[in-house]
Amino acid sequence: MRYDVAVIGAGINGVYTALELLDRGIEKIAIIEKNYPGSGGTFRCATGIRASFTSREHVVLMKRSIEKWKELSNRFGFPFVQGGYVWLLSREEHLRNFKEYVRFHHSLGVPTRIVDPDEIKELVPTIKTDTLVAGVHDPIAGKSNPFTALLNVLEYLKKSGVEVRYPEKAEKIIVENREAKGVLTEKERVEAETILVAAGYGSRDILSTCGVDAPINNLPKHALITEKYREVFKPLLVDWETASYMVQTVSGGFLIGAELEEEYNRPPMNRIEFLYTAVRIWSKYFDWFPSTHIIRYWTGYYVMTPDHHPILGPVKDVESLYVSTGFSGHGFMIAPAASEAVAEWIVRGKPGIREAENLTIDRFKEGRLIHEIAVFG
């Protein structure tokens, strides 16, 4: 069997791109996954979704993504809660920077707003604001459930004839005369007209098998979750001073990420100091937090590129090879828009959203890096 498209990686971007391809009439699709669907970044993510970024590319794609999150959550019966984001600022200099970001957001139609400590208390019941000078509220941001967001769509794909092959490791991309012809897996040779690499932290390795150098480095990141509680607040919170975030997930647990000093490409190991760091930061804001129960702590990767923006679209040197990776910590939230862009590229030769054209892998060789002022959490 020769496929129209073989997708390497059954994370949210591989799966959603398969959906967008199917919606555009491409039927013979295989998704090859070395572990299980969602097993990389998708199922470890913080679940937040926002458009309040500091580059045009991110804002435009994420705005489209939010529209699509609404559509997809209705179509496939999973939650998308538009509960907003609140950045907590404890220094005047940060407030000054954020005033500039807010102006930038407004220029692209994202209605963020500086809020005073009293307004923060309204948005985030029970929070203590005595250390804060101000906050920033993004009312169109939200959160979803990565499990149902992926699995519900995957169920639909399988019913529609998409072949989801797992566990099956892709070992080599087969290229003949500078054209991608298929994927050699640990089981067999899989022939396809088009190959899409959406392999998250494994993307660099699999791309190197056909001589494509993707400047991706995997940065270990840490997160914990508490038991489920009834809803206390809706927004995802970012403590700007420490670049730590806290969100009450749609399932009810409080999910926290906090920064530890890390080395690129080190195995993602648990480190007990993470728990101390995370608990200290958030106990400062919530009197009740010390009495919650932590039930799980996990480590995963941010798949980082030099400019913290994804790599999307075709590869100049290899015909029929496409890439969707390097999301630098934002792969879940951008998935609906990135997948739409990549599917359009594959089917019609253009990504639809013009800004996506700035994100091809060739930008690194050609020195067209994208500048992003802030990557949080």
Partner: protein
């Protein structure tokens, strides 16, 4: 006995009927079942439900333990109150 009345996962209130329906839908490894039904994601961390689901799944699919993908264990083994990570003299 009615499978809708047999609780497999007490933390997340998942019944035998839920498990059988999920297997029917194609969730035939534990990692995927865990995310689909939330079995093993509550305070017991799967110590009660996962061995039971493992047996059901093995009977239903004939797969061996490796193919069934036993979920990765994550710390802590039991729920721990956050206050124990505050440090200082208080706890």
């Amino acid at each position: 006995m009615d499978p809708r009345k047999i609780i497999i996962c007490r933390c997340e209130e998942v019944t035998l009927a839920d498990v059988l329906e999920a297997i029917e839908k194609g969730y035939t490894d534990l990692e995927s079942l865990k995310r689909y039904l939330r079995i093993g994601m509550g305070p017991c961390q799967g110590t009660h439900c996962i061995p039971i689901v493992l047996r059901i799944l093995r009977r239903a699919t004939g797969k061996n333990a490796e193919e069934l993908m036993l979920p990765t264990s994550r710390p802590p083994l039991h729920p721990v109150q956050a206050k124990y990570f505050l440090g200082g003299d208080n706890y």
